[in-house]
Structures are given as structure tokens and as C-alpha cells.
């Protein structure tokens, strides 16, 4: 998880680590299940060392990270503002699969259509899992919106595989 995400979750108000985790859980739903519970605390410790967060108070004077209330420092606030304004988007890595089909065909290592089929099944399984998770979410939950993004991306990938299938079918029958 990006440090900026944890930082930004803290922007609302000074919070305990468990409160940040709860906010992440609400926002991510079943997609957050993979999160390691300790990850937020590890990240908070790093952010503290970097001077982006500070401990506002510790309950009972204990030194345990789960008893501390964290707050953004001025540097931390600036970093969050920059991050919010940043334009970034994950790059889809389609070139690798594209080159796999070309290499398989040109060197006779495999049938591109079989490779497309296998890939399609895998994407359909992912789509099934994402769709099931979306169906289990209450309407208008934050997690449902994220799952819709997953579903739409997988649909786009499946459409591209369809285009790959058509193209390689034509190439095969042409050769």
C-alpha cells in the first residue's frame, strides 16, 4: 500500500491506527481482506520517521503504536495535497501478452488461439469472483464502486482478447 494512502486517510482528523484501518476496510470491502493488519502501523512508523506524521498523544503513556493518536505534520499536509493533485494511473501491461502471442506463433512454441482461450478463462474466473463480490455488497457502498471498476476493466480486457482471437483466426486461415 502506498504511504500516501495512509497519509491521506489521516487528513480528516488525528486518529488511532485502528481508525485508519476501519476507514480502509469501509472503502475497500472484500478487496481489503488481503491487507496485512500490521501494514498500517508499519507505514505509520515510516511516515513518522520521515517527519510526515507526528504522535499527537499516547494513551496511558504507553509506547505501543496501537495506543498512539497520529496527526499530519505541515510537511505531511503538503504531501497529501500534492498527491491529491497528482495525475497518475496504473499502466495496463498489454505488451507482454501481445508479444507472447507473436513469439509463440513465429517460433511455433504454441497456438496463439489456445493461449487466448486460456487467458480468457482466467479473466472470466476473475470476473466471476469480482461480480460475486459486487453482488454481495449493499447498493451504493464504496466497495461496490471499486468492484464496478474491477468488473469494467476485466470486461475491457475480455473485449481485447476477442479482438486478439479474431485477428489470429484470420492470420491462421490466411497462412
Amino acid at each position: 500500500m502506498q504511504q500516501e494512502v495512509v497519509l491521506a486517510m489521516l487528513a480528516k482528523e488525528p486518529s488511532y491506527g485502528y481508525q485508519l484501518r476501519a476507514r480502509l476496510r469501509d472503502a475497500l470491502g472484500p478487496l481489503g481482506d488481503a491487507m496485512n493488519p500490521g501494514q498500517v502501523y508499519v507505514t505509520l512508523t515510516r511516515l513518522e520517521k520521515a517527519g510526515l506524521v507526528a504522535v499527537e498523544r499516547s494513551a496511558g503513556g504507553a509506547d505501543r503504536s496501537d495506543r498512539k493518536v497520529y496527526a499530519l505534520t505541515p510537511n505531511g499536509q503538503q504531501r497529501v495535497a500534492e498527491w491529491i493533485a497528482e495525475v497518475s494511473w496504473p499502466r495496463p501491461d498489454l505488451a507482454e501478452f501481445h508479444l507472447k502471442l507473436i513469439a509463440a506463433a513465429s517460433a511455433g512454441l504454441g497456438d496463439p488461439l489456445t493461449i487466448v482461450d486460456t487467458q480468457r478463462r482466467e479473466l472470466l474466473r476473475r470476473l466471476r469472483d469480482a461480480q460475486r463480490a459486487a453482488m454481495a455488497e449493499p447498493d451504493h457502498s464504496d466497495a461496490a464502486l471499486l468492484l464496478e471498476g474491477v468488473v469494467l476493466r476485466l470486461q475491457a480486457d475480455l473485449r481485447w482478447l476477442e479482438a486478439c482471437e479474431q485477428s489470429w483466426t484470420v492470420r491462421r486461415s490466411g497462412s
Binding site: D33, L124, R125, Q155
Partner: protein, 248 residues
Amino acid sequence: MSDTASASVVRSRGLRKHYGRGEGLVRAVDGVDLDVAPGETVAVMGPSGCGKSTLLHLLGGLDRPSGGEVSLNGRRIDDIGEKALARMRRTDVGFVFQAFHLMEELTAVENVELSALLAGSSTRVARRRAEGLLGRVGLADRAGFLPSALSGGQRQRVAIARALSNEPVVVLADEPTGNLDSAATLDVLRLFESLHDAGQTLVIVTHDARIAATADRLISMRDGAFVDETRLSGGTTGRLGALVGLED
């Protein structure tokens, strides 16, 4: 083979539908063998023009095949008379279409009860049953609404309630989510899943991968024929979190 035949709700062998002749011959459905088990949800996927809608019409007796066999519930329907075919459509099949095909001048509950009334049910029995079905699709509070006052997703759910009204042995759906946005599609998928859980047999032709991904069995159709069949059993290689960048 005979065991499969007797256990299948929908069965076809060498099913064909050809249009035109000579140079202009179109093989819309070209030799389809299909067995759908009771309680199974089967999705037939393919590009538009692959023959999947024609196939659905043949399976439901809306259209006559050029050759081959179709059986519903163990009874051949390709060689029976028009009257018997119409009766079979009324009693054994529920249809769901992309464009809903509701009667615009009738309310939701009147649309749902219509086929039961035509089949001879009393008005009271038909109404009670229609109200129950609207409850089942989550629209009990919309019973008195005209279709024009309902959203696309709600109209399709009314159409699904209507398709269930005569307790069909199979529901045949043609692009049921074709006119719906994401949220309404989700509602229809949830509804199909609840029907599946209740043991309803479903055959859905679609190009919507979301439906295909949630079916028991997925058949790919090209140029009038089945080219691939998939059961999406087994897990994915990664967990959901990986799909949104939360883990590698």
C-alpha cells in the same frame, strides 16, 4: 446418451436453421447439440450475428428449425402442430427479452398476471400469484405502476416475474442486460442467482461477459455453431485485492 436425454430439460441434436438458398444461403444455426440439466444456468456467448438469438427461438418453439431435433422436458417440439407448440410455449417456457416487451398500457402486476389469466386461472388466483412474483423480484411496492413509470432495470425485473408466472421448466433470456446500466445489471444478475438457487433452469444468450462469468457453463458460439465450452470451476490465480493494486 439416452440417460442424458431423459434428464435434460432442454435438448437439441443436429439443430439447424437456414435462410435463403444457393449463394445467399445463411446458416444461422448449423448443427447444434445441446443438453441443459435441471437447475443448470447455461450462458451462450458470441458476437452479434453468430446465431445465438435464433438458437434461443428454436429452443423455445418461437421458430421452427430447418432440421434436427429439439426437446423440452423430454418431449419433442420440432415435429408437433402449431396448437400443441403454442400450448407448450405457454406452459413450459418463460421468455425474457432485451427490450422487455411489456404491455405499456398495463400495470406491472397486470403484465405479470396476464399469461395466467390467458391460461384460465381465476382473477383472484392470478392476482395473488402475480403479486407474489413481483415480491420475489423486489418490486412488491411497484405493482400498480405502468412500465413507463419504471426504470429499465425494474421493467426487466417485471418481465422476469412474468416469465416465471406459469412455473416454466426453463427460462430463456435473450440479452437480458443489453439495455441496462451497471447497477440494473447487478440487480438482474442477483435475481438470476436467486432463481438458480431456487432450482430454476436458465438458458441465457448474451454478449455480456458478466452474465457468462456467473453461469454454471459457458458456451461460445461462432457462425451458427458451438466452438468452445467452459465450466468456470476452480479458483483464480490471485485474490481480488491484486486486481486493484492492493497486492502483487
